[in-house]
Symmetry: C2
Subunit: 277 residues, 2 copies
Amino acid sequence: MLHRQQIKDVSSLRMKKFRDSQRLFLAEGEKLVDELLQSRFQIAGLYASSPWIVTNFTLINRKKIPVFETAVHEMERMTALATPSPVLAVICIPEPPTLLSSTAIGHSDAPVNLLLSLLNGPSSGLLLALDGISDPGNLGTIVRIADWFGITTIFCSENTVELYNPKVVQATMGSIARVEVQYCNLKTLLEACTGRIPVYGAFLEGNNIHEEDLSAGGLLLIGNESRGISETLEPCVTQKIRIPSYGNSPFGKAESLNASTATAILCAEFRRVMNLE
Amino acid sequence: MLHRQQIKDVSSLRMKKFRDSQRLFLAEGEKLVDELLQSRFQIAGLYASSPWIVTNFTLINRKKIPVFETAVHEMERMTALATPSPVLAVICIPEPPTLLSSTAIGHSDAPVNLLLSLLNGPSSGLLLALDGISDPGNLGTIVRIADWFGITTIFCSENTVELYNPKVVQATMGSIARVEVQYCNLKTLLEACTGRIPVYGAFLEGNNIHEEDLSAGGLLLIGNESRGISETLEPCVTQKIRIPSYGNSPFGKAESLNASTATAILCAEFRRVMNLE
Protein backbone atom coordinates (compact mmCIF):
# COMPACT_ATOMS: atom_id res chain seq x y z
CA MET A 1 0.00 0.00 0.00
CA LEU A 2 1.29 3.45 -0.88
CA HIS A 3 1.79 6.20 1.66
CA ARG A 4 -0.69 9.11 1.41
CA GLN A 5 2.14 11.59 0.86
CA GLN A 6 3.51 9.49 -2.00
CA ILE A 7 0.14 9.54 -3.79
CA LYS A 8 -0.05 13.29 -3.22
CA ASP A 9 3.48 13.85 -4.58
CA VAL A 10 2.83 11.85 -7.73
CA SER A 11 -0.57 13.39 -8.43
CA SER A 12 0.87 16.90 -7.94
CA LEU A 13 2.94 16.31 -11.11
CA ARG A 14 -0.24 16.81 -13.13
CA MET A 15 0.40 20.52 -12.47
CA LYS A 16 3.13 22.51 -14.23
CA LYS A 17 4.39 24.29 -11.10
CA PHE A 18 5.21 20.98 -9.42
CA ARG A 19 6.79 19.55 -12.59
CA ASP A 20 8.97 22.67 -12.74
CA SER A 21 10.01 22.57 -9.10
CA GLN A 22 10.51 18.79 -8.90
CA ARG A 23 11.95 18.41 -12.45
CA LEU A 24 9.75 15.33 -12.89
CA PHE A 25 6.90 14.39 -15.25
CA LEU A 26 4.31 11.62 -15.65
CA ALA A 27 3.86 9.04 -18.40
CA GLU A 28 1.11 6.44 -18.32
CA GLY A 29 0.06 3.35 -20.21
CA GLU A 30 1.87 0.17 -21.16
CA LYS A 31 3.04 1.17 -24.63
CA LEU A 32 4.29 4.62 -23.59
CA VAL A 33 6.09 3.39 -20.45
CA ASP A 34 7.61 0.55 -22.42
CA GLU A 35 9.07 3.01 -24.96
CA LEU A 36 10.38 5.28 -22.20
CA LEU A 37 12.04 2.36 -20.42
CA GLN A 38 14.10 1.83 -23.56
CA SER A 39 14.99 5.50 -24.00
CA ARG A 40 17.54 8.05 -22.79
CA PHE A 41 15.11 9.21 -20.05
CA GLN A 42 15.90 8.41 -16.43
CA ILE A 43 12.93 6.81 -14.65
CA ALA A 44 12.58 7.97 -11.03
CA GLY A 45 9.89 5.43 -10.14
CA LEU A 46 7.19 3.13 -11.46
CA TYR A 47 3.70 2.67 -10.02
CA ALA A 48 2.13 -0.48 -11.39
CA SER A 49 -0.40 -3.26 -10.94
CA SER A 50 0.96 -6.55 -9.71
CA PRO A 51 0.42 -8.35 -13.10
CA TRP A 52 2.39 -5.60 -14.88
CA ILE A 53 5.25 -5.97 -12.39
CA VAL A 54 5.35 -9.74 -12.85
CA THR A 55 5.47 -9.43 -16.65
CA ASN A 56 8.18 -6.76 -16.64
CA PHE A 57 10.21 -7.97 -13.68
CA THR A 58 13.46 -8.78 -15.51
CA LEU A 59 13.66 -5.41 -17.27
CA ILE A 60 12.87 -3.34 -14.14
CA ASN A 61 15.33 -5.34 -12.10
CA ARG A 62 18.12 -4.94 -14.66
CA LYS A 63 17.51 -1.18 -14.79
CA LYS A 64 17.31 -0.92 -10.96
CA ILE A 65 14.16 1.22 -11.07
CA PRO A 66 12.16 1.58 -7.82
CA VAL A 67 8.74 -0.05 -8.34
CA PHE A 68 5.66 0.35 -6.16
CA GLU A 69 2.77 -2.08 -6.40
CA THR A 70 -0.30 0.10 -6.85
CA ALA A 71 -3.96 -0.75 -6.38
CA VAL A 72 -6.59 0.53 -8.82
CA HIS A 73 -8.06 2.94 -6.25
CA GLU A 74 -4.58 4.40 -5.63
CA MET A 75 -3.92 4.72 -9.39
CA GLU A 76 -7.23 6.54 -9.75
CA ARG A 77 -5.96 9.23 -7.38
CA MET A 78 -2.68 9.72 -9.26
CA THR A 79 -3.63 9.39 -12.93
CA ALA A 80 -3.98 12.26 -15.40
CA LEU A 81 -6.04 9.97 -17.68
CA ALA A 82 -9.80 9.49 -17.73
CA THR A 83 -9.30 5.74 -17.14
CA PRO A 84 -6.21 4.70 -15.16
CA SER A 85 -3.79 2.30 -16.86
CA PRO A 86 -1.79 -0.55 -15.28
CA VAL A 87 1.41 1.50 -15.10
CA LEU A 88 2.48 5.06 -14.39
CA ALA A 89 6.08 6.24 -14.60
CA VAL A 90 7.60 9.23 -12.84
CA ILE A 91 10.39 10.46 -15.09
CA CYS A 92 13.23 12.97 -14.65
CA ILE A 93 13.05 16.04 -16.90
CA PRO A 94 16.44 16.26 -18.64
CA GLU A 95 18.38 19.52 -18.41
CA PRO A 96 18.02 21.61 -21.59
CA PRO A 97 21.28 21.76 -23.56
CA THR A 98 23.12 25.01 -22.71
CA LEU A 99 23.86 25.57 -26.39
CA LEU A 100 20.39 27.00 -26.82
CA SER A 101 19.97 28.91 -23.58
CA SER A 102 19.26 32.62 -24.11
CA THR A 103 22.77 33.70 -23.10
CA ALA A 104 24.49 31.21 -25.38
CA ILE A 105 22.20 32.06 -28.29
CA GLY A 106 22.76 35.80 -27.95
CA HIS A 107 25.76 36.79 -30.05
CA SER A 108 27.42 33.72 -31.41
CA ASP A 109 27.30 31.22 -34.22
CA ALA A 110 26.12 28.52 -31.82
CA PRO A 111 22.53 28.22 -33.08
CA VAL A 112 23.39 28.17 -36.74
CA ASN A 113 26.22 25.72 -36.14
CA LEU A 114 23.80 23.47 -34.29
CA LEU A 115 21.20 23.77 -37.05
CA LEU A 116 23.75 22.98 -39.74
CA SER A 117 25.12 20.00 -37.84
CA LEU A 118 21.59 18.63 -37.35
CA LEU A 119 20.58 19.28 -40.95
CA ASN A 120 23.64 17.57 -42.35
CA GLY A 121 23.55 14.83 -39.73
CA PRO A 122 20.77 13.02 -37.89
CA SER A 123 17.84 15.14 -39.09
CA SER A 124 18.65 14.41 -42.77
CA GLY A 125 17.98 17.84 -44.21
CA LEU A 126 14.71 18.73 -42.49
CA LEU A 127 14.09 20.67 -39.25
CA LEU A 128 10.91 21.86 -37.59
CA ALA A 129 10.20 25.01 -35.57
CA LEU A 130 6.91 25.72 -33.77
CA ASP A 131 5.74 29.28 -33.22
CA GLY A 132 3.35 29.22 -30.26
CA ILE A 133 1.52 25.90 -30.71
CA SER A 134 -0.90 26.00 -27.77
CA ASP A 135 -2.96 22.80 -27.94
CA PRO A 136 -1.27 19.93 -26.05
CA GLY A 137 -2.72 17.32 -28.43
CA ASN A 138 -1.23 19.18 -31.39
CA LEU A 139 2.26 19.37 -29.87
CA GLY A 140 2.19 15.66 -28.97
CA THR A 141 0.96 14.72 -32.44
CA ILE A 142 3.67 16.89 -34.06
CA VAL A 143 6.37 15.13 -31.99
CA ARG A 144 4.99 11.80 -33.28
CA ILE A 145 5.00 13.13 -36.88
CA ALA A 146 8.61 14.36 -36.49
CA ASP A 147 9.62 10.91 -35.27
CA TRP A 148 7.94 9.23 -38.28
CA PHE A 149 9.62 11.58 -40.74
CA GLY A 150 13.11 11.38 -39.22
CA ILE A 151 13.20 14.88 -37.78
CA THR A 152 15.33 14.56 -34.65
CA THR A 153 14.93 18.05 -33.17
CA ILE A 154 11.98 20.44 -32.86
CA PHE A 155 12.65 24.08 -31.92
CA CYS A 156 9.79 25.74 -30.02
CA SER A 157 9.14 29.39 -29.22
CA GLU A 158 9.02 30.04 -25.50
CA ASN A 159 5.21 30.48 -25.61
CA THR A 160 4.65 26.99 -27.05
CA VAL A 161 2.77 24.63 -24.71
CA GLU A 162 5.01 22.72 -22.28
CA LEU A 163 6.34 19.37 -23.55
CA TYR A 164 5.85 17.64 -20.19
CA ASN A 165 2.12 18.45 -19.91
CA PRO A 166 0.55 14.95 -19.49
CA LYS A 167 -1.69 15.48 -22.54
CA VAL A 168 1.36 16.25 -24.70
CA VAL A 169 3.28 13.27 -23.32
CA GLN A 170 0.34 10.91 -24.03
CA ALA A 171 -0.24 12.26 -27.56
CA THR A 172 3.41 11.59 -28.50
CA MET A 173 2.63 7.86 -28.13
CA GLY A 174 6.25 7.26 -27.10
CA SER A 175 7.92 9.49 -29.70
CA ILE A 176 8.94 11.83 -26.85
CA ALA A 177 11.62 9.21 -26.21
CA ARG A 178 13.27 9.84 -29.59
CA VAL A 179 12.66 13.46 -30.61
CA GLU A 180 14.49 16.37 -28.90
CA VAL A 181 12.28 19.38 -28.17
CA GLN A 182 14.16 22.63 -27.55
CA TYR A 183 12.53 25.81 -26.25
CA CYS A 184 14.42 28.91 -27.35
CA ASN A 185 14.10 32.41 -28.72
CA LEU A 186 12.95 31.53 -32.26
CA LYS A 187 13.59 35.04 -33.56
CA THR A 188 17.31 34.83 -32.74
CA LEU A 189 17.46 31.29 -34.08
CA LEU A 190 15.74 32.12 -37.38
CA GLU A 191 17.73 35.33 -37.88
CA ALA A 192 20.89 33.28 -37.60
CA CYS A 193 19.60 31.11 -40.48
CA THR A 194 19.28 34.01 -42.93
CA GLY A 195 21.20 33.32 -46.12
CA ARG A 196 22.30 29.90 -44.98
CA ILE A 197 19.21 27.69 -44.63
CA PRO A 198 15.86 28.08 -46.43
CA VAL A 199 13.06 28.84 -43.95
CA TYR A 200 9.62 27.64 -45.11
CA GLY A 201 6.39 28.89 -43.56
CA ALA A 202 2.76 28.14 -44.42
CA PHE A 203 0.68 31.15 -45.50
CA LEU A 204 -2.69 31.31 -47.31
CA GLU A 205 -1.06 33.35 -50.07
CA GLY A 206 2.04 31.14 -50.31
CA ASN A 207 3.13 29.09 -53.33
CA ASN A 208 1.50 25.71 -53.92
CA ILE A 209 3.85 23.18 -52.27
CA HIS A 210 3.63 20.97 -55.35
CA GLU A 211 5.00 23.79 -57.52
CA GLU A 212 7.76 24.83 -55.09
CA ASP A 213 11.19 23.21 -55.17
CA LEU A 214 11.46 21.51 -51.76
CA SER A 215 14.37 19.26 -52.69
CA ALA A 216 17.00 21.13 -50.66
CA GLY A 217 15.04 20.77 -47.41
CA GLY A 218 15.61 23.35 -44.69
CA LEU A 219 13.67 24.55 -41.69
CA LEU A 220 9.87 24.35 -41.66
CA LEU A 221 8.12 26.90 -39.41
CA ILE A 222 4.59 26.10 -38.16
CA GLY A 223 2.41 28.88 -36.72
CA ASN A 224 -0.07 29.04 -33.87
CA GLU A 225 -3.47 27.33 -34.31
CA SER A 226 -5.46 30.54 -34.66
CA ARG A 227 -2.93 33.34 -35.24
CA GLY A 228 -0.60 31.50 -37.64
CA ILE A 229 3.04 32.62 -37.88
CA SER A 230 3.65 35.72 -35.76
CA GLU A 231 4.47 39.09 -37.30
CA THR A 232 7.87 39.06 -35.59
CA LEU A 233 8.90 35.84 -37.29
CA GLU A 234 7.30 36.39 -40.70
CA PRO A 235 10.29 38.38 -42.08
CA CYS A 236 12.54 35.37 -41.37
CA VAL A 237 10.51 33.13 -43.70
CA THR A 238 12.31 32.89 -47.04
CA GLN A 239 9.73 30.72 -48.86
CA LYS A 240 6.02 31.12 -48.24
CA ILE A 241 4.17 27.94 -49.10
CA ARG A 242 0.60 26.63 -48.96
CA ILE A 243 -1.15 23.26 -49.12
CA PRO A 244 -3.59 23.46 -52.04
CA SER A 245 -7.26 22.89 -51.22
CA TYR A 246 -9.76 21.15 -53.49
CA GLY A 247 -13.07 21.97 -51.82
CA ASN A 248 -15.90 23.01 -54.12
CA SER A 249 -19.03 22.80 -51.99
CA PRO A 250 -21.75 25.35 -52.80
CA PHE A 251 -21.69 26.24 -49.07
CA GLY A 252 -18.10 27.53 -49.08
CA LYS A 253 -14.99 25.63 -48.07
CA ALA A 254 -12.66 24.88 -45.16
CA GLU A 255 -10.60 27.95 -44.28
CA SER A 256 -7.66 26.08 -42.86
CA LEU A 257 -6.27 22.79 -41.69
CA ASN A 258 -5.43 21.91 -38.10
CA ALA A 259 -1.77 22.76 -37.24
CA SER A 260 -0.69 19.15 -36.77
CA THR A 261 -2.56 18.06 -39.92
CA ALA A 262 -0.71 20.71 -41.95
CA THR A 263 2.63 19.71 -40.39
CA ALA A 264 2.02 16.09 -41.40
CA ILE A 265 1.18 16.92 -45.03
CA LEU A 266 4.18 19.27 -45.34
CA CYS A 267 6.66 16.81 -43.78
CA ALA A 268 5.39 14.00 -46.03
CA GLU A 269 5.78 16.20 -49.11
CA PHE A 270 9.29 17.37 -48.12
CA ARG A 271 10.44 13.80 -47.57
CA ARG A 272 8.86 12.59 -50.82
CA VAL A 273 10.59 15.28 -52.88
CA MET A 274 13.91 15.10 -50.97
CA ASN A 275 14.04 11.37 -51.60
CA LEU A 276 13.37 11.52 -55.35
CA GLU A 277 16.56 10.25 -57.01
CA MET B 1 -33.32 35.31 -18.04
CA LEU B 2 -33.74 31.72 -19.17
CA HIS B 3 -36.16 29.31 -17.58
CA ARG B 4 -34.54 26.54 -15.50
CA GLN B 5 -36.14 23.85 -17.65
CA GLN B 6 -34.74 25.49 -20.80
CA ILE B 7 -31.19 25.38 -19.40
CA LYS B 8 -31.73 21.75 -18.42
CA ASP B 9 -33.06 20.83 -21.89
CA VAL B 10 -30.11 22.44 -23.68
CA SER B 11 -27.47 21.01 -21.37
CA SER B 12 -29.00 17.51 -21.69
CA LEU B 13 -27.93 17.57 -25.36
CA ARG B 14 -24.36 16.98 -24.20
CA MET B 15 -25.52 13.37 -23.79
CA LYS B 16 -26.09 11.02 -26.72
CA LYS B 17 -29.37 9.59 -25.43
CA PHE B 18 -30.96 13.04 -25.38
CA ARG B 19 -29.52 13.95 -28.81
CA ASP B 20 -31.04 10.71 -30.14
CA SER B 21 -34.47 11.24 -28.59
CA GLN B 22 -34.68 14.98 -29.35
CA ARG B 23 -32.93 14.80 -32.77
CA LEU B 24 -30.98 17.93 -31.79
CA PHE B 25 -27.28 18.71 -31.27
CA LEU B 26 -25.10 21.54 -29.93
CA ALA B 27 -22.58 23.78 -31.69
CA GLU B 28 -20.67 26.51 -29.89
CA GLY B 29 -18.35 29.38 -30.72
CA GLU B 30 -18.66 32.31 -33.09
CA LYS B 31 -16.88 30.80 -36.09
CA LEU B 32 -18.68 27.46 -35.93
CA VAL B 33 -22.15 28.96 -35.42
CA ASP B 34 -21.48 31.44 -38.21
CA GLU B 35 -20.67 28.60 -40.63
CA LEU B 36 -23.75 26.64 -39.55
CA LEU B 37 -26.01 29.67 -40.00
CA GLN B 38 -24.95 29.67 -43.66
CA SER B 39 -25.41 25.92 -44.15
CA ARG B 40 -28.15 23.40 -44.95
CA PHE B 41 -28.71 22.75 -41.22
CA GLN B 42 -31.90 23.96 -39.59
CA ILE B 43 -31.21 25.94 -36.39
CA ALA B 44 -33.77 25.29 -33.65
CA GLY B 45 -32.52 28.08 -31.38
CA LEU B 46 -29.63 30.35 -30.48
CA TYR B 47 -28.40 31.19 -26.97
CA ALA B 48 -26.13 34.20 -27.07
CA SER B 49 -24.65 37.15 -25.23
CA SER B 50 -26.26 40.49 -25.88
CA PRO B 51 -23.25 41.88 -27.87
CA TRP B 52 -23.37 38.80 -30.17
CA ILE B 53 -27.10 39.33 -30.76
CA VAL B 54 -26.57 43.00 -31.61
CA THR B 55 -23.82 42.20 -34.11
CA ASN B 56 -25.76 39.39 -35.81
CA PHE B 57 -29.25 40.86 -35.58
CA THR B 58 -29.94 41.24 -39.33
CA LEU B 59 -28.95 37.67 -40.16
CA ILE B 60 -30.93 36.09 -37.31
CA ASN B 61 -33.95 38.19 -38.11
CA ARG B 62 -33.87 37.29 -41.79
CA LYS B 63 -33.59 33.59 -40.94
CA LYS B 64 -36.35 33.85 -38.30
CA ILE B 65 -34.36 31.89 -35.72
CA PRO B 66 -35.52 32.05 -32.07
CA VAL B 67 -32.79 33.79 -30.04
CA PHE B 68 -32.44 33.87 -26.25
CA GLU B 69 -30.22 36.40 -24.55
CA THR B 70 -28.02 34.36 -22.25
CA ALA B 71 -25.92 35.47 -19.29
CA VAL B 72 -22.44 34.03 -18.71
CA HIS B 73 -23.56 32.06 -15.64
CA GLU B 74 -26.38 30.51 -17.68
CA MET B 75 -24.03 29.65 -20.56
CA GLU B 76 -21.69 27.99 -18.07
CA ARG B 77 -24.48 25.57 -17.14
CA MET B 78 -25.24 24.66 -20.78
CA THR B 79 -21.83 24.57 -22.46
CA ALA B 80 -19.91 21.43 -23.42
CA LEU B 81 -16.71 23.52 -23.63
CA ALA B 82 -14.18 24.21 -20.87
CA THR B 83 -14.71 27.96 -21.37
CA PRO B 84 -18.15 29.09 -22.54
CA SER B 85 -18.32 31.08 -25.77
CA PRO B 86 -20.65 34.00 -26.64
CA VAL B 87 -22.99 31.80 -28.68
CA LEU B 88 -24.45 28.31 -28.57
CA ALA B 89 -26.72 26.91 -31.28
CA VAL B 90 -29.23 24.08 -30.91
CA ILE B 91 -29.44 22.41 -34.30
CA CYS B 92 -31.79 19.83 -35.84
CA ILE B 93 -30.15 16.51 -36.76
CA PRO B 94 -31.06 15.90 -40.41
CA GLU B 95 -32.70 12.58 -41.33
CA PRO B 96 -30.18 10.14 -42.82
CA PRO B 97 -30.85 9.57 -46.55
CA THR B 98 -32.89 6.36 -47.01
CA LEU B 99 -30.60 5.27 -49.84
CA LEU B 100 -28.11 3.99 -47.30
CA SER B 101 -30.42 2.60 -44.63
CA SER B 102 -29.81 -1.08 -43.92
CA THR B 103 -32.93 -2.20 -45.77
CA ALA B 104 -32.12 -0.17 -48.88
CA ILE B 105 -28.49 -1.29 -48.87
CA GLY B 106 -29.43 -4.98 -48.57
CA HIS B 107 -29.83 -6.41 -52.03
CA SER B 108 -29.68 -3.70 -54.61
CA ASP B 109 -27.32 -1.61 -56.65
CA ALA B 110 -28.18 1.46 -54.58
CA PRO B 111 -24.85 1.78 -52.71
CA VAL B 112 -22.66 1.30 -55.74
CA ASN B 113 -24.82 3.64 -57.81
CA LEU B 114 -24.51 6.25 -55.10
CA LEU B 115 -20.73 5.74 -54.87
CA LEU B 116 -20.32 6.03 -58.63
CA SER B 117 -22.47 9.14 -58.84
CA LEU B 118 -20.46 10.78 -56.03
CA LEU B 119 -17.12 9.70 -57.51
CA ASN B 120 -17.97 11.05 -60.95
CA GLY B 121 -19.69 14.11 -59.55
CA PRO B 122 -19.17 16.30 -56.48
CA SER B 123 -16.49 14.20 -54.77
CA SER B 124 -14.19 14.39 -57.84
CA GLY B 125 -12.88 10.86 -57.82
CA LEU B 126 -12.09 10.38 -54.13
CA LEU B 127 -14.26 8.93 -51.33
CA LEU B 128 -13.48 8.16 -47.71
CA ALA B 129 -14.75 5.36 -45.46
CA LEU B 130 -13.99 5.07 -41.74
CA ASP B 131 -13.85 1.70 -40.03
CA GLY B 132 -14.53 2.28 -36.33
CA ILE B 133 -12.80 5.62 -35.66
CA SER B 134 -13.42 6.04 -31.92
CA ASP B 135 -11.77 9.31 -30.91
CA PRO B 136 -14.12 12.32 -31.33
CA GLY B 137 -11.21 14.66 -32.12
CA ASN B 138 -10.07 12.34 -34.90
CA LEU B 139 -13.52 12.14 -36.53
CA GLY B 140 -13.93 15.93 -36.39
CA THR B 141 -10.45 16.48 -37.82
CA ILE B 142 -11.12 13.96 -40.62
CA VAL B 143 -14.35 15.82 -41.55
CA ARG B 144 -12.27 19.02 -41.78
CA ILE B 145 -9.64 17.25 -43.92
CA ALA B 146 -12.36 15.86 -46.24
CA ASP B 147 -13.74 19.38 -46.67
CA TRP B 148 -10.27 20.74 -47.55
CA PHE B 149 -9.66 18.00 -50.10
CA GLY B 150 -13.06 18.20 -51.78
CA ILE B 151 -14.43 14.90 -50.46
CA THR B 152 -18.16 15.50 -50.12
CA THR B 153 -19.22 12.28 -48.39
CA ILE B 154 -17.67 10.12 -45.66
CA PHE B 155 -19.05 6.62 -45.08
CA CYS B 156 -18.70 5.37 -41.48
CA SER B 157 -19.11 1.91 -40.02
CA GLU B 158 -21.88 1.77 -37.45
CA ASN B 159 -19.33 1.53 -34.57
CA THR B 160 -17.66 4.82 -35.53
CA VAL B 161 -18.07 7.58 -32.91
CA GLU B 162 -21.25 9.65 -33.29
CA LEU B 163 -20.95 12.72 -35.55
CA TYR B 164 -23.07 14.90 -33.23
CA ASN B 165 -20.88 14.36 -30.14
CA PRO B 166 -19.96 17.96 -29.13
CA LYS B 167 -16.21 17.17 -29.35
CA VAL B 168 -16.63 15.96 -32.93
CA VAL B 169 -18.75 18.99 -33.88
CA GLN B 170 -16.14 21.39 -32.42
CA ALA B 171 -13.19 19.63 -34.09
CA THR B 172 -14.82 19.95 -37.54
CA MET B 173 -14.38 23.75 -37.20
CA GLY B 174 -17.48 24.25 -39.34
CA SER B 175 -16.74 21.61 -41.97
CA ILE B 176 -19.70 19.59 -40.62
CA ALA B 177 -21.77 22.13 -42.56
CA ARG B 178 -20.33 20.97 -45.89
CA VAL B 179 -19.39 17.29 -45.62
CA GLU B 180 -22.06 14.52 -45.51
CA VAL B 181 -21.33 11.77 -43.00
CA GLN B 182 -23.23 8.53 -43.60
CA TYR B 183 -23.33 5.65 -41.12
CA CYS B 184 -23.93 2.33 -42.85
CA ASN B 185 -22.90 -1.30 -43.05
CA LEU B 186 -19.43 -0.84 -44.58
CA LYS B 187 -19.07 -4.51 -45.43
CA THR B 188 -22.12 -4.40 -47.72
CA LEU B 189 -20.98 -1.09 -49.17
CA LEU B 190 -17.42 -2.25 -49.89
CA GLU B 191 -18.55 -5.60 -51.29
CA ALA B 192 -20.70 -3.72 -53.75
CA CYS B 193 -17.55 -1.89 -54.94
CA THR B 194 -15.67 -5.05 -55.88
CA GLY B 195 -14.48 -4.93 -59.46
CA ARG B 196 -15.85 -1.42 -60.01
CA ILE B 197 -13.95 0.99 -57.75
CA PRO B 198 -10.42 0.54 -56.32
CA VAL B 199 -10.54 0.28 -52.50
CA TYR B 200 -7.33 1.53 -50.83
CA GLY B 201 -6.46 0.69 -47.21
CA ALA B 202 -3.39 1.54 -45.13
CA PHE B 203 -1.40 -1.46 -43.87
CA LEU B 204 2.15 -1.65 -42.48
CA GLU B 205 3.05 -4.13 -45.21
CA GLY B 206 1.33 -2.14 -47.99
CA ASN B 207 3.01 -0.57 -51.03
CA ASN B 208 4.74 2.78 -50.62
CA ILE B 209 2.12 5.36 -51.66
CA HIS B 210 4.71 7.17 -53.76
CA GLU B 211 5.28 4.02 -55.83
CA GLU B 212 1.59 3.14 -56.22
CA ASP B 213 -0.52 4.52 -59.06
CA LEU B 214 -3.15 6.62 -57.29
CA SER B 215 -4.21 8.56 -60.38
CA ALA B 216 -7.59 6.83 -60.81
CA GLY B 217 -8.72 7.72 -57.28
CA GLY B 218 -11.29 5.46 -55.62
CA LEU B 219 -12.37 4.78 -52.07
CA LEU B 220 -9.90 5.21 -49.21
CA LEU B 221 -10.60 3.09 -46.12
CA ILE B 222 -9.19 4.26 -42.75
CA GLY B 223 -9.02 1.83 -39.82
CA ASN B 224 -9.56 2.20 -36.09
CA GLU B 225 -6.89 4.05 -34.03
CA SER B 226 -5.51 0.94 -32.34
CA ARG B 227 -6.89 -2.07 -34.25
CA GLY B 228 -6.52 -0.70 -37.79
CA ILE B 229 -8.78 -2.06 -40.55
CA SER B 230 -10.98 -4.88 -39.24
CA GLU B 231 -10.53 -8.47 -40.41
CA THR B 232 -14.05 -8.43 -41.87
CA LEU B 233 -13.25 -5.51 -44.18
CA GLU B 234 -9.65 -6.40 -45.09
CA PRO B 235 -10.70 -8.74 -47.96
CA CYS B 236 -12.53 -5.80 -49.61
CA VAL B 237 -9.31 -3.77 -49.87
CA THR B 238 -7.97 -4.08 -53.41
CA GLN B 239 -4.77 -2.01 -52.92
CA LYS B 240 -2.83 -2.11 -49.65
CA ILE B 241 -0.79 1.04 -49.23
CA ARG B 242 1.53 2.57 -46.63
CA ILE B 243 2.99 5.98 -45.85
CA PRO B 244 6.79 5.56 -45.87
CA SER B 245 8.60 6.44 -42.64
CA TYR B 246 12.05 8.01 -42.43
CA GLY B 247 12.91 7.62 -38.74
CA ASN B 248 16.44 6.50 -37.97
CA SER B 249 16.87 7.15 -34.24
CA PRO B 250 19.12 4.68 -32.38
CA PHE B 251 16.22 4.30 -29.92
CA GLY B 252 13.79 2.82 -32.47
CA LYS B 253 11.10 4.62 -34.41
CA ALA B 254 7.44 5.60 -34.40
CA GLU B 255 5.26 2.54 -34.99
CA SER B 256 2.38 4.41 -36.51
CA LEU B 257 0.78 7.74 -37.25
CA ASN B 258 -2.44 9.01 -35.70
CA ALA B 259 -5.52 8.06 -37.78
CA SER B 260 -6.37 11.64 -38.77
CA THR B 261 -2.69 12.41 -39.54
CA ALA B 262 -2.54 9.41 -41.88
CA THR B 263 -5.84 10.41 -43.53
CA ALA B 264 -4.45 13.89 -44.20
CA ILE B 265 -1.23 12.64 -45.79
CA LEU B 266 -3.09 10.10 -47.95
CA CYS B 267 -5.74 12.59 -49.14
CA ALA B 268 -3.05 15.17 -49.99
CA GLU B 269 -1.12 12.58 -52.00
CA PHE B 270 -4.22 11.33 -53.84
CA ARG B 271 -5.17 14.87 -54.82
CA ARG B 272 -1.61 15.73 -55.89
CA VAL B 273 -1.36 12.70 -58.17
CA MET B 274 -4.95 12.95 -59.45
CA ASN B 275 -4.31 16.57 -60.43
CA LEU B 276 -1.01 16.00 -62.26
CA GLU B 277 -1.25 16.87 -65.96
